[in-house]
């Protein structure tokens, strides 16, 4: 059984005050997420990521299609007890302390009252907020609120966690911690579905990703599958600050950083470049084929879909 099964879910809004006209936010979406995987939902701003998440959470009603989570309907309260959700740029009741807020959410999720205090302490420690007892949320920074948001999403130990832009508002250290947390959740057997436009996070974390643009699904697959295209180029890195003329003559793009040089050149020039390095007695550090990054794949996909949309118009 898939953890999340989306069958033709779509959403069209009516916009305009007097003369209402339809605006498609999400074209029929078919998607399946397996249990225990970290699934990245990628797309630029306004692509339809949040709309999809809101429909899965029962906050927005779809105009067509259906979806099942853990084999249950998306409006089934039993299903909702088994999922956690972190909305984009979360805002919480600022008159509460983090403990009070988590107590409130825990009770709403059906966690027994006796179990709540130790769970709250544990989850706050897990998100790096153990010393904030008695402080109202109105005094929290954006990053701290994001951590509280993550805490409320995992407090009731859900089977699936939905994160909408979980890294937004976090400093590099915080982002790293969230990435580690998501990996821990995966090791605990939980499914993580998160939307992001920060591709490095998706590349580092996801088992599979889906790319959505202008409300339409453009690609789904494992990151390695999507980025498997070898560009026919190699990257050579050596120690030093000089670029031999013979390597320049091969048409290499060279960048000197500190005491290393990084050169990208065609695969056919590999042997000639290695000969040149040996001749000059330069110490080679690495030689790897240049692969498509997720970012390159993503940008390429978006450009292509925009071109298609332009030609159809």
């Amino acid at each position: 059984m898939s953890a999340i099964e989306i069958n033709g879910l779509e959403k069209t809004y009516s916009v305009g005050f007097w003369r209402k006209r339809p605006k498609c936010a999400l074209k029929p979406l078919h998607l399946s997420v397996e249990e225990g995987e970290i699934f990245g939902f990628l797309g630029p701003n306004g692509a339809g990521k949040t709309t999809t998440l809101k429909m899965l959470m029962g906050l927005v009603f779809p105009t067509g299609g259906s979806a099942r989570i853990l084999g249950m309907d998306i409006n089934d309260p039993q299903m909702k007890a088994q999922i956690g959700f972190l909305p984009e740029q979360p805002y919480f009741y600022d008159y509460l302390t983090a403990h009070e807020l988590l107590d409130y959410y825990g009770r709403l999720s059906g966690v027994p009252g006796k179990e709540l205090p130790p769970r709250i302490v544990k989850v706050l420690e897990r998100v790096g907020l153990k010393d904030i007892r008695g402080v109202q949320l109105r005094k929290f920074s954006k990053g701290m609120l994001q951590r509280v948001g993550i805490a409320q999403a995992i407090l009731h130990e859900p089977k699936i966690v939905f994160f909408d832009e979980p890294m937004s508002g976090l400093d590099p250290m915080g982002r790293r911690e969230v990435r580690d947390l998501m990996e821990q959740l995966k090791h605990e057997g939980k499914t993580v579905f998160f939307s992001t436009h920060i591709l490095s996070d998706a590349e580092a974390l996801c088992d599979r990703v889906a790319v959505i643009h202008q409300g339409e699904l453009r690609a789904v697959g494992a990151v390695a599958e999507l980025t498997s295209g070898v560009q026919g180029k190699i990257e050579v890195v050596w120690q030093g600050t000089t670029v031999p003329a013979s390597i320049k003559a091969l048409g290499a793009e060279c960048h000197v950083t500190g005491d290393t040089v990084r050169a990208v050149l065609s695969e056919e020039s590999q042997d000639l470049a290695l000969d040149a390095l040996r001749r000059e007695r330069l110490h080679m550090i690495s030689l790897v084929p240049v692969r498509t990054t997720l970012e390159q794949y993503f940008v390429e996909k978006l450009k292509r879909s925009e071109k298609t949309a332009g030609s159809l118009a």
Partner: protein, 258 residues
């Protein structure tokens, strides 16, 4: 009541209790009750009448202001600040959220009314030096004021479920004003003819009948309250608030939280 409704209600109560504006309003209402003592002292022989009139009017008016002030933001503020997203993504049904909010606000108003009533009875004791049997009817008047609060709460929630806080405030306050004069509206309907009669009658029956719930004047004159009126008013207020809440639930059930 299920745990989720209790939880939402207690959080709504906690929100109101931690709102400083609420304390300003209560302080102002108590001040007005205190002022009743001064006015009472310069009103020869009718001190009690003035204290009861002014005191209960302050309880009613400030309670309604608090009900509207808090009630109009109960749903719209949660949507606007997106706090609702993390509530409705849990096993909470939309109707449970509305009912929880209603009980939370109603509870806040009952507690407020209790403290303000202590102020009124304190003022009464100060001017009369002792309580007399007819003073018990003041409690009935307070009970009717609480019934008014229930209706206002449900109306504020109804408007809050589909419109902005400002519009909700305008709607709720307009209904309160029209409802206060509903008896006059009925008298006008009885005298009018044709289309005007139909229209005035329809409006008089649609708006809440706050005239029937206002017995401050008769209680101030130590007149007893018929037990039938207590039963009728209770049924009326519960039915009216129930219908307004059903309307709020029906609207909120279909609402997309963009």
């Amino acid at each position: 009541m299920n745990q989720r409704i209790t939880c939402i209600a207690s959080n709504t109560f906690r929100e109101a209790v931690r709102d400083r504006v609420l304390y300003n309003l209560i302080a102002f209402a108590l001040l007005l009750s205190g002022a009743a003592i001064l006015v009472g002292q310069i009103s020869i022989d009718i001190e009690k009448l003035v204290v009861i009139n002014l005191g209960l009017t302050a309880v009613s008016l400030f309670g309604v202001i608090i009900a509207i002030f808090i009630g109009i933001g109960l749903v719209s503020k949660e949507i606007e600040k997106r706090t609702l997203y993390t509530v409705l993504s849990r096993p909470v049904r939309r109707w449970e959220f509305i009912i929880g909010k209603f009980f939370g606000l109603a509870g806040t108003l009952v507690v407020n009314a209790f403290f303000m009533a202590i102020g009124v009875f304190g003022a009464l004791l100060y001017v009369a030096h002792k309580f007399q049997a007819p003073d018990g009817w003041v409690l009935v008047a307070l009970y009717f004021i609480i019934l008014q609060f229930l209706i206002i709460c449900s109306l504020a929630l109804l408007f809050s479920s589909f419109s902005s806080p400002l519009l909700s405030a305008v709607f709720a306050f307009s209904l309160f004003v029209i409802g206060t004069f509903s008896e006059d509206l009925r008298n006008f309907a009885a005298m009018a003819t044709g289309m005007t009669k139909w229209l005035a009658t329809a409006v008089a029956y649609i708006v809440p009948n706050f005239s029937a719930l206002n017995i401050i004047s008769s209680v101030a004159h130590a007149q007893p309250v018929a037990s039938q009126l207590i039963v009728y008013n209770t049924i009326y207020a519960l039915l009216y608030a129930g219908m307004a809440l059903c309307g709020a639930v029906l609207i909120f059930q279909r609402r997309n939280l963009k």
